[in-house]
Structures are given as C-alpha cells and as structure tokens.
C-alpha cells in the first residue's frame, strides 16, 4: 500500500487520501469500487467536511436517504455495498477517522 495505515486499514494521515488510495483500501477490504460506492464515499466525505465527525450508522442512513433516495438510504443497501459494519468500512475507504461512537 502506498499510504500508511494502521493495523485495521485506517489511514494514519488523513491528508494521504486520494481516489486511487480509496481504491487500494477498498481492495484490501475485498471491495471493487463502483459508481454506487463512490456516491456514498462522496456523501460521507461531505458529512465529515460539514460536521468533523465520521457518521455513525443512523446518521449515515439518514443522510443517504435524504441525498440519494429511500432505495439507497437503508441499512440493507449499505450492508450490500460495504459488508460487515458499513459506517466503519466507509469511513476507512473514504479516508475519515475511525468512528469513535461505535462499540
């Protein structure tokens, strides 16, 4: 990997993020990024730019529903694109801090 990450794959320096870096991180997660993924990556980066907080699952779903519509703003859709824990996986790929609110 061209950028330093911690053991769980989160970027050490958030400024290292770029679209190719996102693709690398995603590949390490077993995800090939499609336009559907990118729409959500842009959405969480915008969320972080506004609030300086990586969104937890609830606000992520709410945001996605508002911006992308109900068929994308639901947890099943997010789980399909970012399996496991969508809020965490998305934060990782989008170059945001690990969501502190989880656990």
């Amino acid at each position: 990997m061209s950028s330093a990450t911690d053991k769980e794959g989160y970027l050490t320096n958030l400024n290292d993020w770029s679209e190719p870096v996102a693709e690398e991180i995603a590949r390490a997660e077993g995800i090939e990024l499609s336009e559907a993924h990118w729409a959500l990556i842009r959405l969480v980066r915008q969320f972080y730019a506004e609030f300086e907080v990586s969104p937890a699952m609830r606000p992520l779903v709410k945001r996605a529903r508002e911006k992308l519509g109900p068929e994308k703003g639901n947890s099943l859709y997010l789980l399909k694109l970012f399996p496991g824990s969508p809020a965490k996986v998305l934060a990782k790929i989008a170059g945001l801090p690990r969501p502190t609110n989880c656990l």
Partner: protein, 137 residues
C-alpha cells in the same frame, strides 16, 4: 434527615483525574457509602480525564494514595464494573492488551480491574439506574 428503606440502583460517572481533581476520590467515598447503605451499583463510568483513574502504571506516594486501589477493592467485593470510555482512554494512553496489539504499542497501561467500553455503556448505565450522579472535574 429520615433514612428510608428504599434500595436503589445507582449509576456513577467520574469526570476528573486523580491528583488533578477530587472527582475520583469523592465518587469513591460516595460509592462506598451507597453500597454500605445497601444500595447497588452496577457500573462506574470513567470519562473525560476521569479515565486516568484506570492507569495501571501509577506509582502513588505512600502517604498520598490514588483512589484507584479503593475502586479495585470495592469492585471486587461487590461485583461492580469499572468501565473506561474507549475514545477518552485511547487518546490518553490507556490501553489494555487488546488495544495494545491493535495499535502496535509497546505496553498495555490499563489496570486489569478496569474494562474498556464504548460510550453506549454510559447510556446503558443511565438507563438502568434509579439515580445517576456525575462527579465533575
């Protein structure tokens, strides 16, 4: 003052650091008095600088003990969970073995009687107690 017979479940939050504030020591005396009066206490939640109470690498002077030992004794005797907020703990260098491995750090610093938990456990402590008391910094 009338001493009622009501047995209550208390929740306690500690927000101030030992030595930096009285919060942890005040909370400990309250907790001991509550338990002595027959009330129950399931969890003490350490937040803000209060997480420093859980530092396992402290060497307190013999004539100025940290409240830590008191918490450990009380917790062991009465089955109380000493819960440290993970977000507040990590940034202050308080890690258990699991977090030490996760971040590749040299040493674990958390006293083994304390457990690292999420902020949800604070909400749970509030939700499952009759009375909730914060000991501020």
């Amino acid at each position: 003052m009338i001493y009622g017979l009501a047995r209550m479940i208390f929740g306690i939050a500690v927000h101030g650091a030992p030595y930096g504030s009285q919060a942890s020591a005040s909370a400990l005396r309250f907790a001991e008095a509550a338990v002595a009066a027959g009330h129950s206490l399931h969890r003490v939640f350490f937040y803000h600088d209060g997480v420093n109470t859980a530092n396992g690498l402290m060497v307190p002077p013999q004539d100025d003990p940290s409240p830590q030992q008191g918490w450990v004794t009380l917790a062991e005797r009465h089955g109380i969970e000493l819960a440290v907020c993970i977000a507040a703990a990590l940034k202050r260098g308080l890690v258990n073995e699991e977090e030490r491995n996760r971040y590749g750090l040299n040493a674990a610093s958390l006293h083994p009687a304390f457990s690292i938990v999420g902020l949800g456990q604070l909400i749970d402590a509030i939700g499952s107690s009759d009375r909730f008391v914060t000991f501020a910094a």
